[in-house]
């Protein structure tokens, strides 16, 4: 038995407040705000929610806390926590649950106050006796070593990495909700404060508050609703937990999750109108464009050069401005999905990709550890 492409649709999508929230705001406040906005987006009520999915670094029992807060008793719940890609994984699990009749209205929610309470407080790292004593600045140093290895093997340059940051900033300038409001140049990225070589602070994602929610129902139910966005393909995989144990720092699990999702959907990278890939660091975008099949391994640096993933480029990538320039509340996967939904619906205003029918949202978690890919479309196919 396998999942059926297009069997469910995302019918509600909304962000919570983003950026910096008021003192005392909790992750659950943000989740609840996102849930109510996403339900309003599709005209469903809280009492209809019978499937609850969330993951949080600030709450071990996030579904318990959110269900209590909202006053609901979901008959199906999933607190899967694999980092920033958790929410793509939740899509897959919601698809299985809805197809199996375990729930009918699934809500996926996320909220973080990591800017307000500090990154160290929001996402404390577990002690690893084989890594922690050497004081890697995690997660950045892990991604830095992936970047260094990619540069060594393929001739990728810091300018290539900077292209990713500059493209994200150009998209962000067209998104009123983006945190960053000023233009950015390649020279500014290269000259920024080094954090963990070869990555400067401009190669690293933002540290913001934020959250949001999605509402999913069966395709049959979605047909009567406003602009359903169908789930056409899903794929997820785990490759390691610690960067020391990543088999090859230049090849991520996206090389498995991507082909899984494309095969399920009967699509190829050439069919994708907008690619939302988890850009916690500039190297991520290059790695994922390669591993998802938009270009060959090792050619990601050349692929992004010359503004090729910026507005007007060859491929629309991270049109909300990304984790680099729009918002990165600890775990960012849900916000990738929200932008993918909005692009397929045609709701993105100045940054709207023309005739966007197929959107890819690719999530990453940990230190390139978990990878999960979702393909969304305007029709069930």
């Amino acid at each position: 038995m396998s999942l059926t492409p297009g069997s469910i649709a995302i019918v509600g999508a909304a962000e919570s407040e983003l950026g910096l929230v008021a003192p005392g705001t909790t992750p659950t406040d943000l989740m609840a705000q996102g849930v109510m906005r996403a339900l309003a987006d599709c005209g469903l009520s809280l009492t209809e929610v019978d499937g609850l999915f969330t993951a949080n670094t600030q709450q071990r029992f996030a579904t318990l806390v959110l269900a209590e807060y909202l006053g609901i008793t979901p008959r199906y719940q999933d607190n899967t926590q694999i980092g920033g890609s958790s929410f793509m994984s939740h899509i897959t699990h919601a698809m299985g649950a809805i197809e199996a009749g375990l729930c009918e209205v699934a809500v996926i929610a996320y909220g973080s106050t990591q800017r307000s309470v500090s990154r160290a407080a929001a996402s404390p790292r577990e002690y690893n006796p084989y890594e922690t004593p050497y004081k890697p600045f995690l997660p950045t140093s892990a991604y830095a070593m992936a970047a260094a290895r990619h540069m060594h093997q393929y001739g990728t340059t810091r300018e290539h990495l900077a292209e990713v940051a500059v493209a994200a900033r150009q998209w962000a300038l067209m998104n009123p909700k983006a945190w960053e409001k000023k233009p950015l140049t390649i020279a500014e990225v290269l000259g920024a404060r080094m954090v963990s070589s070869p990555l400067t602070v401009r190669d690293c994602c933002l540290v913001t508050d934020g959250g949001g929610a999605l509402v999913l129902v069966s395709a049959a139910r979605a047909r009567q609703m406003k602009k359903p966005v169908y789930v056409l393909g899903v794929g997820e995989t785990l490759s390691h937990a610690s960067i020391s144990s990543m088999p090859d720092l230049t090849v991520t699990g996206a090389a498995r999750s991507g082909p899984q999702a494309f095969a399920m959907a009967g699509l190829t990278p050439a069919d994708v109108d907008v690619a939302m890939v988890y850009d916690a660091f500039t190297i991520n975008t290059i790695l994922f464009l390669e591993d998802l099949g938009f270009c060959a391994k090792g050619e990601g640096g050349a692929f992004v050069s010359g503004g090729a993933i910026a507005p007007g480029g060859r491929l629309a990538v991270n049109t909300n401005g990304g984790g680099l320039s729009y918002c990165h509340p600890g775990m960012y996967g849900l916000l990738l999905l929200i932008e993918a939904v909005r692009q397929v619906r045609g709701e993105c205003g100045a940054r709207q990709v023309p005739s966007c029918e197929i959107a890819l949202a690719h999530g990453n978690g940990g230190v390139l550890s978990s990878q999960a890919t979702v393909l969304l479309g305007s029709a069930p196919r």
Partner: protein, 137 residues
């Protein structure tokens, strides 16, 4: 703790977690000046230490590394309140990889492919392996 340092080719490694853990065994070797790793019954190197072999779940035995390896990747970490320092992933010649740091050269001068040799460094809380370029070791 009574501890029998093993000098390789010792296959009697059935773990007894009431007396020794994979970590305590590794650390005891470090205090004895040895970089220990494990091998599967098929001879594949395994690191970090664990109670059973990946994939097969089979038994593991301890070996002592010759301590020679190659830098697989490297970064210099810049903190606001301290001098930059190196963090690196080292591919040991026996076929396992570990995180450590390379000393004896500037943190940014550590390059991928550099040949390095282990040294046991006595730090505040433990004795642990660090590396230096082979020519400087």
């Amino acid at each position: 703790m009574e501890f029998h340092v093993q000098d390789g080719n010792n296959a009697s490694a059935a773990p007894d977690l009431k007396t020794d853990s994979p970590l305590s065994t590794f650390e005891a070797h470090c205090r004895a000046g040895q970089l220990a790793y494990q091998v599967t019954q098929e001879g594949a190197a395994v690191f970090p230490p664990r109670v059973c072999a990946p994939v097969t779940g089979g038994a593991l035995s301890w070996r002592i590394s010759a301590g020679l390896g190659t830098v697989y990747s490297t970064t210099a970490v810049y903190s606001r309140d301290a001098a930059p320092y190196n963090v690196a992933l080292i591919n040991l010649d026996e076929g396992f990889r570990m995180m450590s740091r390379v000393e004896g050269v500037a943190p940014e001068a550590v390059t991928i492919g550099l040949r390095v040799k282990v040294r046991m460094a006595t730090e505040e809380d433990a004795v642990r392996p660090v590396f230096a370029p082979v020519e400087a070791a």
